[in-house]
């Protein structure tokens, strides 16, 4: 197996670990804020490592750039949504 | 079992689940969701039929894309009707199913 396949397995495995950790966090953490914390770890690190692992299978630089763009967009969306949810939960907890 | 058969069975099961949701639910938003489940189940069934054979058939795929867009527009219209019904009566249920929770038929 070429080196790139080993790298793909390794990085995708790490990303999978972060996704599992994030999912366990969502299911087991007690309140909204800690769950958001777990969720963003899954989104940022998990997706990042999986994108990195898949990038080793890419054929051209263009494919790698597209993967990086996908990760950046997912990061922006997840960050924005987490902020909005947290702000709303805070307002609700403080009685608006 | 050839490969698409599993997906065809999944599509058939989705149609059954969707119909159950459509008939058994009382809240109208649930019914719109169930309607979408039926539609997407049928699309999967159709797409699996097109994926049999050596090469994938593009005609079912084109028709499915058309169907997805039309399903969205139907959902949008249905959702608008739900909003209008709710602002008129205050409940998101059909008129002859209102008041079922009080024990009336």
């Amino acid at each position: 197996m070429p080196i790139s396949d080993y790298a793909t397995y390794a990085f995708t495995g790490i990303g999978l670990f972060f996704f599992i950790a994030g999912t366990v966090g969502i299911l087991r953490f007690p309140d909204v804020f800690s769950r958001l914390h777990a969720l963003t770890k899954a989104d940022n690190l998990g997706l990042g490592f999986i994108a990195l692992g898949v990038a080793f299978q890419a054929d051209t630089w263009r494919d790698i750039a597209v993967l990086a763009l996908i990760w950046a967009l997912a990061l922006a969306a997840a960050g924005t949504v987490s902020q909005l949810i947290a702000r709303d939960a805070l307002a609700e907890r403080d009685g608006r | 079992m050839t490969d698409p058969t599993l997906y065809a069975l999944t599509g058939a099961a989705l149609v059954g689940i969707g119909f159950y949701g459509l008939l058994a639910a009382r809240h109208l938003l649930r019914r719109v969701i169930a309607f979408n489940l039926i539609g997407s189940g049928l699309f999967v069934f159709f797409g699996a039929a097109g994926a049999r054979g050596a090469e994938v058939d593009p005609v079912p795929q084109a028709l499915i894309i058309t169907g997805i867009v039309v399903a969205l527009s139907a959902s949008a219209l249905a959702v608008g009707l739900i909003a209008a019904q709710t602002s008129a009566t205050g409940h998101a249920t059909l008129p002859d199913e209102d008041g079922g929770e009080d024990g009336d038929a």
């Binding site: - | 795929q61 084109a62 409940h91």
Partner: protein, 310 residues
């Protein structure tokens, strides 16, 4: 190994569908439905239908999810989002639905196997003017269906607009949105639209030879407009604004003109001879994307409602 992947995927899809239908609470059903849409796009990739996967992820998962969530919010404001009494599982209905599934399964095994995607299609594809067979079918061989579909979109939008109250007809579409100036949503609503616009236009352009196309790109463009509107950075237009009415009908009109030109010049409605097919398809797709983007955005924003400041 791929069989394990397929079995797991189908199990997930069915489990999520059951959770959608049987779960407690309408919000749970909506959230599970959005997840279901995303899983379904993976199913489409497994069925070798990447164009459909793009359309399902964008329209089925994305736009339908936004539609259901905003409606849930509207219902929640008046207390109508509570799940009305569902009682226990409904056995007769479940049996009927199981029978329906069984009928479909029987139909699957009774269907005769096809011989390849038809010999006529295989020899007509090189003359279609585009490399992507799905785009060729959508905009050349079955262009009649696509023309009618664009009109159906317009009809649904008009049906939605009719639902507004008489005195609201001249108000702006949808409910007014606002966000904290300098906050996260406002920033997102400024950063995303340029990138999203580029992605949407690219999806339309690349749909000629690779997976993509007018519907997928148009949906991304509609989503870009929706993000900017949700952040309160642009206000939805009024129905009477003629520029937006023109944008709505631009696609169907161009399509119709192309069809009539085909009837007059080449002997058949919507006939595209091989020499001009590529250019004609590109022009039709560009016009169609504009209309699809505007129509889908208006469908999700909703009918005109009072409440906007003049």
């Amino acid at each position: 190994m791929t069989l394990l992947l397929d079995v797991t995927l189908c199990a997930f899809v069915l489990g999520i569908a059951l959770a959608t239908v049987l779960g407690r609470g309408v919000f749970r059903a909506v959230v599970f439905f959005i997840v279901y849409g995303l899983l379904l796009s993976v199913v489409w990739v497994r069925l070798d239908a990447v164009n459909v996967a793009l359309a399902e992820a964008a329209i089925g998962g994305g736009l339908t999810g936004v539609l259901l969530l905003t409606t849930y919010g509207k219902l929640a404001r008046t207390g109508a989002e509570a799940d009305v009494g569902r009682g226990g599982p409904n056995l007769p209905v479940a049996l009927i639905c199981a029978g329906l599934t069984g009928a479909l399964v029987w139909a699957w095994f009774a269907l005769p196997l096809p011989q390849r995607p038809g010999p006529e299609l295989a020899e007509a594809l090189p003359r279609a003017g585009v490399g992507n067979p799905v785009t060729a079918v959508l905009l050349n061989f079955r262009a009649w269906d696509t023309l009618l579909e664009s009109v159906v979109l317009l009809t649904a939008l008009i049906g939605l607009w009719i639902l507004c109250r008489d005195e609201d007809w001249h108000a702006r579409l949808g409910v007014p949105q606002h966000s904290r100036p300098g906050g996260v949503m406002a920033g997102f609503g400024r950063v995303l639209p340029p990138v999203g616009f580029l992605v949407g236009v690219y999806l339309v352009y690349v749909g000629a030879d690779d997976p993509g196309g007018a519907f997928q790109g148009g949906t991304v463009l509609a989503a870009v407009g929706l993000v900017a509107a949700l952040a309160g950075l642009i206000r939805p237009p009024r129905i009477a604004d003629w520029q937006w009415r023109a944008a709505l009908v631009f696609g169907p009109v161009v399509f119709l003109i192309a069809g009539l030109a085909g009837a007059v010049l080449f002997g058949g409605f919507l006939t595209l001879p091989a020499e001009i097919a590529a250019g004609a398809i590109f022009a039709i797709e560009a016009a169609l994307s504009v209309s699809i983007a505007v129509t889908l955005a208006f469908l999700v924003i909703g009918p005109p409602q009072a409440g906007h400041s003049a």
